[in-house]
Amino acid sequence: MAHHNQSPSEMVKKLGWLHKVLAEESDTTEKEMTDFVKQQEIISGRDPEISEEEYFINMGPQHPSTHGVLRLMVSLKGEIVQNIKPHVGYVHRGIEKMTEKMTYKQIIHLTDRLDYLSSTINNHAVCLAVENGLEVEIPERVKYVRTIIDELIRIASHQLWWGVMGMDLGALTAYFYGFRDREKVIDVLEKNTGARLLHSYYTPGGLMRDIHADFQKDIKEYIKYQRNLMNEYDDLLSNNVIFRERTEGLGIMTREEAIAYGVTGPSGRASNFACDVRKQHPYAAYDKADFKQILYTGGDSFHRYKARLDEIKESMNIIEQLVDNIPEGSYTAKMKAVLKLPEGTYFQRVEAARGELGVYVISKGDKVPYRMKFRSPNLSNLGALDKLTRNYKIADLVAIMSSLDLVIPDIDR
């Protein structure tokens, strides 16, 4: 290996045998030799700008802890992370561009595929934007059902994250238990919407079909089951000494940083940034439920973990308050067959499982939007990763990234 702090001529001398062979067989000058060495370095992927002690590795695009195709160029000095350059775009599907050719009803099924773990919440954002634009009155029943289903999805999402975070830190048991309990939520949703992951159950104006007769009964059964398990989660992972040592005091984000990077959702609220859209700008039936915004001041990986676990409990509170009070009525408002948004711009934000999702629609009065832009929570959360992991060990990078709970298709869109 050539040394960087040596002059090129010294480097050439070090490669003695090559020098000899080339010098004997041809009229290679020293300049040609240095060019050759430089060329070799570029081919082998060494950046001449990085000093000898510092080197970079590619984490991803296929790495088990990124949970998707995210490529992180990690610059390291020994084991210490110097900086991270995320490379995104490996699952870019051009959803924003595709929306420009689709009617508002058809767009809904594409938004499922942004953050697939909070699929109905994404649907909700577009539905609300379109409904606000058309100024249609939505039946109360729809608002209640949408709120309940959104919270179920949030629970399912956090359960998956809980299991996966355990797995990232080496606790494979947590992974199985997380999935075991998520299955129960999925079953409730499957019975009602017909799908397990990508529901596309909402439609501008209401729901695809009315709720299942067993919907309320199933939810009550599920909540009873889940409440007993929250202590188990604490015993298994939250109080585990290895888990605590690897998360407490690591990846600290202050409130100012969270605001500056736009880190929302449980990750932001763990840094005492009150950013819960459900509380600050209530939509659907959130103003009917009494719940509190989970806020922590720690801002480290462990508090981000705690914030999510507490959100599961808080989501169950919301559901319990609403599930018995679903008003009777139609499951959809009277809508025209072809929806044409009046000319103008519309913005709607909702609280997805990972933070604030914004939908910005520009309409020229056609049945398709002129432009649609999604403000996805994961892209902003990923932006803070470089700051959070600087000067920590590379093993902590996995823990900190896991505590941010990134979903890659939402970053690329």
């Binding site: 058809q106 079953d187 019975k191 799908a195 596309s200 439609t203 188990e232 015993d235 290895i242």
Partner: protein
């Protein structure tokens, strides 16, 4: 001296936390009734799917081999992926020239099961089927013709 007691205390606490966790896993290990593993595909015969399960799009036929599709093409325009193609003919029935479907082609390989066609159909001709084992050796077998051979439009649809 103080640091040594602290050290021992920490070790004790750590061991206790590990034992608590092992207690949880131990419970599930000894209680076989809590096992939730399903023996798929051996349990195919007893497998129960949700009644609304969105497995594929089907066109229900009654016992007289009649379907409800008038060939209006609303599902074709509602579909976001172009998974549905309708080939229709004009036939003279009872002295009137009427549109009759020849083939209702459904590309399962392109379908995202969003449900817009089922929702849009004015005569409830389409429905979701529960079949979910769609693996195939070639792509052509995923293109299906939904109306059965020799099937007709049922008489109870008003136009």
């Amino acid at each position: 001296m103080n640091s040594i007691t602290n050290y021992i205390k920490t070790v004790g606490k750590a061991l206790k936390s590990l034992a608590t966790g092992m207690g949880v896993t131990g419970y599930y290990f000894t209680h076989r009734s809590t096992a939730i593993t399903e023996q798929y595909p051996e349990n195919r015969a007893t497998l129960k799917l949700a009644e609304r399960f969105k497995g594929e799009i089907v066109m229900p036929h009654n016992e007289k081999n009649e379907h409800r599709c008038t060939g209006c093409g609303i599902c074709e325009t509602a579909c976001p992926n172009g998974s549905i193609e309708i080939i229709s003919n004009f036939e003279v029935i009872d002295g009137k020239r009427k549109k009759v479907i020849d083939k209702h082609i459904y590309h399962l390989s392109m379908c995202t099961l969003c449900g817009l066609c089922v929702d849009a159909c004015p005569s409830d001709a389409l429905d979701f089927g529960g079949d979910f084992e769609h693996a195939a050796f070639n792509r052509i077998s995923l293109t299906k013709i939904l109306n059965k051979e020799g099937s007709k439009l049922t008489k109870d649809i008003k136009e």
